[in-house]
Symmetry: C2
Subunit: 109 residues, 2 copies
């Protein structure tokens, strides 16, 4: 009890839910927006300053975003440079949009 019963749902629904969950926290939304605004990648410390949460908390959110492959990182001196994986972002856009469009079509049958 307590944990989501993934086994009773279709894989497609589990995946859509997993993707949506990444965007279901305002800090992650802000982080994604911020990284997307930075020319040529951005540094974790800058995100910490920008968002106003402790560094480990930001690190944790970054790792959630990474889990669906939405972040690329590369070493840059002693810092890490994060950037949005455009292909993955586009895949997320299509996944969500297709869901809404299909649901819309069905709803107005």
């Amino acid at each position: 009890m307590g944990s989501t019963k993934l086994n009773i749902h279709e894989a497609e629904n589990n995946y859509l839910a997993k993707v949506a969950k990444v965007f279901s926290h305002p800090a992650r939304v802000a982080i994604i927006k911020y990284i997307s605004c930075c020319e040529s990648g951005c540094i974790c410390n800058d995100i910490v300053k920008e968002i106003g949460l402790a560094q480990p908390t930001i690190s944790q959110h970054l790792s959630e975003i990474k889990k669906i492959g939405l972040l690329d990182q590369s070493a840059s001196g002693k810092s890490l440079s994060y950037s949005i994986n455009s292909e993955k972002l586009n895949a997320c856009r299509r996944l969500m949009n297709d869901f809404f469009v299909k649901t819309q079509v069905n709803a107005s049958k």
Copy 2:
């Protein structure tokens, strides 16, 4: 500690996160899909049978979906008939899609 710090984020980000959260559970995704497929509304009990979770659990998920205005209900005998609010669904679609499009544009600068 423990709860999301809504006050440090922009209202826009809080709202997007709130909407995304509705779609961040496979049962809710399945429920929304199922309702959208039913010609002229569908009955709660049918959802319970379809999804395979206990009735109170379904009821709880329905109330989460209602919170963002995505469900219309109407009495139908002793049952309730649920249907998707098309306008709201479309608004959700645009909200998410605009976010992705904006983020995409920024990311590929």
